[in-house]
C-alpha cells in the first residue's frame, strides 16, 4: 500500500514548458519548478534563460527548430546541485508543434528526470575512471622504473631461485651480446661460467633455509664478488656481482637480483700493475746488489793500487828495480781490470740503449776461435786445459769481430772462473746449414735450475757463485752481442756437473741487419 501511495504522490518524471518568439515562457506543467536552476524565475512571462541557464547560447538552434529548419535538440544529463538536496539530473528535449491560433510553430521543451540512471552511471564512471587513473599511474611507474633500469651502467639480472633468468637490462644485453629474448628462461650459467665460492655458499645457504631471512625486506647475499662470465662471442670477462633476494608478486616466492660491474679491464690493469711493481722491486734489488758488487770490485783494486803506490813512494829508494817493476805491473793489471769492468758497464748501457754499432766483416772463424782460446789460456796462466775442436779446414764467415770476441771471451772466461783449476774447458766450432755453432763446455759448479731462466738478465748472478767475483753483466752483454748477429744463445747445466753454452750465429749476415 505504501509503495502504491508513494508512486501516486511521487513527483512526475517528466515536465514541460512552452516559449514564445521572445524566449519567454508561455505555459508550464505543474511540477516544472523542481527542474529549474532558479525556480522563482521558471514562471510564465519570464525569459527561459533566467530559470534555465542551459538555454543561453542556443538561441540560434531554438529559432531553427521553430522555423522548421531543425527537427529537434537534446541536452542530456544536466545536473542541478543544491547544498541541501541530492543532485538532480535532467534530459531536455526541444521540439516544435503547430500553434492552432497563430499559425506558427510553438516550441515545446520537455524535461525528464534521469537522476536514477545518471547516479548509476556516475558510480560506474567513477569506478572505471579510478581504475584507469590507477592503471595510468602504474604504467607510468613501470615505464619510469624500466627507464632507470635500462639507463643503468651496471648489469642487472633477475633469476628464479633455481637460476633461470627472468629479466635483464640493456647494459646486460650490450655486455653479453645476447638479446633479452635469447636469455629469458635460460639458466644463469649460460653467461656465468664460474662462480666464486663465496657466491656459491651464500646462495646455497639461502636456498637451504630461506625462512631465516626476512623475505619482505629482501636480503643481500653477497657484495662485489668477482665471477667469470662469457659473452655470446665467447669472450671471457670478469664481473663483480652483488646479489640480493627480492619478493615476487606471489607470496613467499623470492627471486635473486644480481647487479654487476664489468671489472675485466680493472683486473687486467691491476695484474699489470702488480707485475710492474714486482719488476721494479726486482730491478731495485738487482741495482743495489750491483752497486755493492761494483763498489767491492772497485774498492779491492783501488786498495791494491794505493798500497803499491805507497810502497813506491815511501820505500822506492830502498827497492830494487825488479821489485819496483813488479809493483808497477800490479798497478797496471789492476787498472786494466777496472777498465774492463767499466767497459762492461758501458757496453751494457749501450746495448740497453740500442747504441752498439754492428759492423760485420769477412772473418775466418776457425783461426779466430783457435787464437782466442790460446790467448785466454795464456791470460789465465794455463790453470785449465783448453780443448778446441773444429772438423772444418776453415770457416769463412761475415761477423762483427769485436762483438764476436766479446761473446767467446766472456763464455771462455766464465768457464775458467766457475770450474776448478786443472779441469778441462771444451770449445767446439761446428758448421751446420749456414749457421756457425759455438759450444763451450766446462766441468764446473753448474747453474741451479731456478737461475737458468734469468741468467741473461743484467746484474743477475746464480745463487751458487760463492766468492767468485763478477758483475752479473757478462752474459747479458754476450746475449746482446749474439742477438745483434741475429743469433741465439742457450744453456744446459747441472749443478756440480758443469755447464754448456751453445751459440748459433748465421755465417753470413743478412744485408738489412748490417749497420
Amino acid at each position: 500500500m505504501n509503495s502504491l501511495l508513494k508512486k501516486i504522490f511521487a513527483p512526475r518524471r517528466m515536465e514541460y514548458l512552452t516559449i514564445d518568439r521572445n524566449f519567454k515562457i508561455t505555459d508550464t506543467s505543474d511540477g516544472l519548478k523542481r527542474f529549474a536552476d532558479k525556480p522563482e524565475e521558471a514562471v510564465v512571462g519570464k525569459e527561459i534563460t533566467l530559470g534555465f541557464p542551459e538555454f543561453f547560447g542556443i538561441e540560434d538552434i531554438l529559432v531553427a527548430i521553430q522555423q522548421g529548419r531543425q527537427a529537434d535538440f537534446h541536452l542530456k544529463g544536466i545536473a542541478r546541485y543544491s547544498e541541501t538536496e541530492s543532485p538532480l539530473y535532467i534530459d531536455i528535449n526541444i521540439i516544435a508543434y503547430p500553434d492552432g491560433e497563430n499559425l506558427e510553430n510553438r516550441l515545446f521543451i520537455f524535461f525528464e528526470d534521469v537522476t536514477e540512471k545518471l547516479l548509476l552511471e556516475q558510480a560506474l564512471v567513477q569506478k572505471s575512471n579510478e581504475a584507469n587513473l590507477l592503471l595510468s599511474s602504474l604504467s607510468a611507474a613501470k615505464d619510469y622504473i624500466d627507464k632507470i633500469i635500462n639507463s643503468m651502467v651496471e648489469v642487472l639480472l633477475v633469476t628464479t631461485l633455481s637460476g633461470k633468468i627472468k629479466k635483464i637490462n640493456q647494459a646486460a644485453e650490450n655486455l653479453f651480446g645476447y638479446s633479452e629474448a635469447e636469455l629469458l628462461g635460460q639458466p644463469i650459467t649460460k653467461i656465468v661460467t664460474e662462480w666464486a665460492s663465496e657466491a656459491l655458499r651464500a646462495r646455497q645457504r639461502y636456498r637451504q633455509s630461506p625462512a631465516n631471512h626476512q623475505p619482505s625486506l629482501g636480503c643481500e647475499l653477497f657484495k662485489d664478488v668477482e665471477v667469470n662470465c662469457q659473452t655470446k662471442a665467447g669472450k671471457k670477462i670478469t664481473i663483480a656481482f652483488s646479489c640480493s633476494t627480492i619478493s615476487t608478486d606471489i607470496e613467499d616466492l623470492q627471486n635473486f637480483v644480481y647487479v654487476g660491474r664489468d671489472t675485466t679491464e680493472r683486473r687486467r690493469t691491476q695484474e699489470e700493475l702488480i707485475k710492474t711493481l714486482e719488476q721494479e722491486k726486482e730491478l731495485r734489488k738487482l741495482k743495489s746488489r750491483f752497486i755493492s758488487i761494483a763498489s767491492h770490485e772497485f774498492r779491492t783494486p783501488l786498495a791494491m793500487i794505493l798500497l803499491s803506490s805507497d810502497i813506491l813512494k815511501q820505500y822506492g829508494h830502498k827497492l830494487s828495480e825488479d821489485k819496483k817493476s813488479k809493483q808497477l805491473d800490479k798497478i797496471k793489471v789492476t787498472v786494466s781490470n777496472m777498465t774492463r769492468l767499466l767497459d762492461d758497464i758501458l757496453t751494457i748501457n749501450q746495448t740497453e740503449a740500442m747504441q752498439v754499432s754492428f759492423n760485420p766483416v769477412p772473418i775466418e772463424l776457425k783461426k779466430f776461435c783457435q787464437e782466442l782460446a790460446e790467448e785466454i789460456e795464456l791470460a789465465t796462466n794455463k790453470t785449465h786445459d783448453f780443448v778446441f775442436q773444429c772438423q772444418e779446414s776453415e770457416v769463412s764467415a761475415e761477423m762483427d769481430e769485436k762483438l764476436l770476441r766479446q761473446i767467446v771471451t766472456n763464455l771462455l772466461s766464465n768457464a775458467v772462473k766457475y770450474s776448478s783449476p786443472g779441469s778441462t774447458v771444451y770449445f767446439d766450432l761446428l758448421v751446420k746449414k749456414g749457421w756457425a755453432i759455438f759450444k763451450i763446455r766446462d766441468q764446473g759448479i753448474g747453474i741451479p735450475q731456478p737461475d737458468q731462466g734469468r741468467l741473461f738478465e743484467t746484474f743477475h748472478r746464480a745463487s751458487n757463485v760463492g766468492n767468485v767475483s763478477g758483475t752479473g753483466l757478462g752474459l747479458a752483454i754476450t746475449k746482446g752481442a749474439v742477438e745483434l748477429h741475429s743469433g741465439t744463445i742457450a744453456v744446459e747445466s747441472e749443478e756440480g756437473q758443469g755447464t754448456t753454452f751453445t751459440v748459433c750465429v748465421p755465417i753470413v749476415q743478412p744485408k738489412e741487419l748490417t749497420t
Binding site: 521572445n22 541557464p53 542556443i58 538561441e59 540560434d60 529559432v63 541536452l75 556516475q122 575512471n129 587513473l133
Partner: protein, 186 residues
Amino acid sequence: MSTISKKICLIGDFGVGKTSLIRRFVERQFSDRYLSTVGVKISRKTIELLNNQAEKLNLQLLIWDLEGHTKFKSIAPTYLQGASGAAIVADVSRPETIERLTEHINLFLSVNKKGIIVVAFNKVDLIAKEDLAQIVEGFQAKAIAQVLAIYQTSAKTSLSVDEMFQTLVNKIVETGNKEQSSVREL
C-alpha cells in the same frame, strides 16, 4: 548597472581537474577527493567589469563543467553550442592528457569557429619546476594559433586559476560576441 552573460566550457580528459578548477574559481574551495562528473554541471559566477565607456558592467559567467573524455565516451558537441570561450585542461602528470589537448581544441573550434581558448596545464604542484618547463615547451611547439594563452595551474594551490579565467573573460568581452549576449527575437 547592465548585466551580460557569457558561456564558457571546460574541456579535457577525465580526471584532469576541470571540476576542481571551477570549484576553486567559483567557490574558492578545493577537495583532494576525486568525484567523476557525469553529464554537465553549470556554475554561475558574476564578475564586475568596465566597458569601453568606463561604465561598470556585470558579467554573468556560465561555466559548463563537461564530463571528461574517456576511451569509451567522447565529449558531446551539443554541450559546446553557443560558448564564447573554453579552457582546455590537461594533467601535467599524465602525458596522454596533454597529447589529447589538440583534439579537444579542434572539437571546440569545429563548433565555435571564433571561440577564445586558453590551455591549462593543471596539477603543476605534482611536478618539479624544471621538469614542467620541458613538458610545456613540448606542447607549445605544436600550439594552435587560436590558443590565447597557456597557463600552468593548480586548483590545489590556486596557482594561476583566477588569472586564467580572467584572461579568458577579458578577451571574450573585448572581442564582444554581442550576438550571443543579446536577446534575439524569433
